[in-house]
Amino acid sequence: MFDGLSNRLGVIFDRLKGRGALNEGDVNEAMREIRIALLEADVALPVVKQVIQDIKEKAVGQEVLKSITPGQMVVKIVNDHLIQLLGGEASPINLNAPAPVVMMVVGLQGSGKTTSVAKLAKYLAQKERKKVLMASVDVYRPAAQEQLEILAQQNSLLSLPIVADQKPVDIVRRAYDQAKKSAVDVLIIDTAGRLHIDEQLMNELKAIYASMPITEVLLVADAMTGQDAVTMAKAFDECIELTGVILTRVDGDARGGAALSMKVVTGRPIKFVGLGEKVDQLDVFHPDRIVSRILGMGDVVSLVEKAAEMIDQEEAEQLAKKMSKGQFDLNDLAKQLQQVSKMGGLSGLINFLPGISKFQDKIKESGIDDRMVARQLALIRSMTPQERRNPKLLNASRKRRIASGAGMLVQDLNRLLKQFQDMATLMKKMGGMGKGKGFLKNGLNNLLFR
């Protein structure tokens, strides 16, 4: 809907072309579009207002109208400004304290704290070579402590043995003692989810916070959070001084405006993003990526990373070799189709692409959907290995057999074969082109900042 931000701005500025000076009214109209775009991305209103104020000054100063594409020029100004607001660079985790370094994770119910604790532990164990102990003080939600224990077992991490009916402050004390005794480098405390207006539970947090020196206090917040992000983040920050934020469910398709809201209101950096339910799906925060999403410009970098994660490197190289030699066969196509569905299907991938939402209706009309991928796979799977390696074998009777085996018509199979032929031809042509990464990178730049 609002990925048309640069389009809509374009329309406004187009109208003004040939008029020369940009008057206050024109700027205001453009700012209104930006305001709507930001609000629809769930950026909190006070933050939107501040951003608009700043951008207005910048935009007016920069003779936007002289640019060939003033709409995009303004989008670039907004883009750069938001990145700057989010801190520009990634903000590292602080391990600069005598061992055991204590970290505490807080947040609302259901924000993803326990999963994030396990992810953080895994991250510190793997990337920083630290011995990490996790302890859950969530004595309220049924089986919360057990959840952390299971995550520890599944991922060869350490968790504090559960003692029934112990109070949070006592559990923390016990965890700290054990951490010292067994030479643990980092102790991560998982707290119960709580509402920031629940005085009793907020006092409990304060008590835990006061009971020992804590180096990192991380707020876990859902990337899908709406306008309430500011109230919530402020309340937690005022209760116990936060040192950073872990933004979860960034693998969803929310625009993630909450990230901007929380950073601007508390000044605390976003340190990590959660990208899935698996324990290794934690990544350091990159402001530019979230900004692209907030502005609806897609998130090509994350898409490429997602692809890289799902696709077996060796397999990919083999495939590339085959492709450049023109030996791409139906087995390879099947593999590709499988990867597409692994990465969330066509509909999942499409969400990451810049400018795509404009075409979403068209895509729907054309009947491209995830079932299509499944059907094509079914067709390929109905072929014999020889046929997959050499589609030329397919005569009319073989085709009939395959089509009925997949529960489809011969026309469907012909369409698939035609598509495969086109792909193979295209790949032969592309064989001479440079490495994939450079291509994608340039592609991204071309798309964003033409």
Partner: protein
């Protein structure tokens, strides 16, 4: 948390926290002002901070502008006007969860991770158990660590059977078996807990479709009610969530959780209007009695700070 409170004052106090800002804001805007463009724009801001969304806010304000523009209006008048508009949109979608007698009602509870599915199940289970209905719970979240234990603990507390399978078991198969047994035992309601899933994970969404198809083999009318849990702290992404879930399973209505915080849940207004789906209940706390039937009048009134505090309705 105070213990004994009338249900209305509880919902009022729950929702009130979320509406203080809005009602104060409107108070501040309208005590002495004429309804002009500037005031309308401030009003728009206030509605937006309730997560009502730009488009729906525009719609609500359009009729205000049309009828009252330029007039001198009081705080109360504006509130009543807006409330009546919101009620007009939402009232058709107040609905109870219909339980058919004589059959096993299959009710899957779906939603994204952390929206409050398991907690809501425990509340619904208690509610129905207290009405004398027989229940069986299915621990269909075979993915998240300790999710099965979480539901089992609830089952023990409530004295309700919980059907569970192996870790990472197939939810569809588990649900199928559970329904088979429930039908044999003439259980009234089969409540199915499902794993939280982000709607853009096509593989996990397909699993919902599969579960639905498996259940339909035993009862073509299943699921009789499929309840989607919405987290009130979520913003405009709820549109995308509902849109996608609907594609894979027959969503019959919503329960919005976490309305006892400061999140306003205003997005619900646009959601019911857009998807034409009812709201069965709202969650305003962790206890079973904190699950309230949805009432458009109260929702609008509390959102705008119109509700009375005397506990009568």
């Amino acid at each position: 948390m105070s213990e004994k409170k009338g249900w209305f004052s509880k919902i009022t106090s729950g929702l009130k926290k979320s509406t203080d800002k809005l009602s104060h804001g409107i108070g501040a805007i309208f005590t002495k002002k004429k309804l002009d463009n500037e005031t309308l724009s401030d009003l728009e801001d206030l509605l937006i901070t309730c997560d009502i969304g730009v488009e729906v806010t525009g719609k609500i304000l359009a009729s205000l502008k049309k009828t009252r523009f330029g007039e001198d209006v009081t705080d109360q008048e504006i509130k009543e006007f807006l409330a009546s508009d919101i009620v007009k949109i939402m009232e058709p979608y107040e609905q109870e969860i219909h339980i058919e007698s004589g059959i096993t009602n299959v009710i899957p509870i779906i939603g994204v991770n952390g929206s409050g599915k398991t907690t809501t199940i425990s509340k619904l289970a208690q509610l129905w158990r207290d009405q004398g209905l027989t229940l069986s719970l299915v621990a269909g979240d075979t993915f998240r660590a300790a999710a099965v234990s979480q539901l089992k603990i609830w089952g023990d507390r409530l004295g309700i059977e919980v059907v569970s399978g192996e870790e990472n078991a197939d939810t569809a198969a588990l649900a199928f078996e559970a329904l088979q047994n429930a039908q044999k035992k003439h259980v009234d309601i089969l409540l199915i807990d499902t794993a939280g899933r982000l709607h853009n994970r096509a593989d996990l969404m397909a699993e919902l479709d599969k579960t639905q198809r498996a259940l339909q083999k035993l009862d073509p009318a299943a699921p009789h009610q499929c309840i989607m849990i919405l987290d009130a702290t979520t913003g405009q992404n709820l549109y995308a969530q509902v849109e996608t879930f609907k594609k894979y399973i027959n969503v019959s209505g919503f329960i919005m959780t976490k309305l006892d915080g400061t999140a306003k849940g205003g997005v619900l207004i646009g959601l019911v209007d857009h998807f034409k789906l009812p709201v069965f209940a709202i969650g305003v706390g962790e206890k079973a009695e904190d699950l309230k039937m949805f009432n458009a009048n109260e929702f609008a009134a509390t959102l705008l700070g119109l509700a009375s505090d005397d506990g009568t309705s």
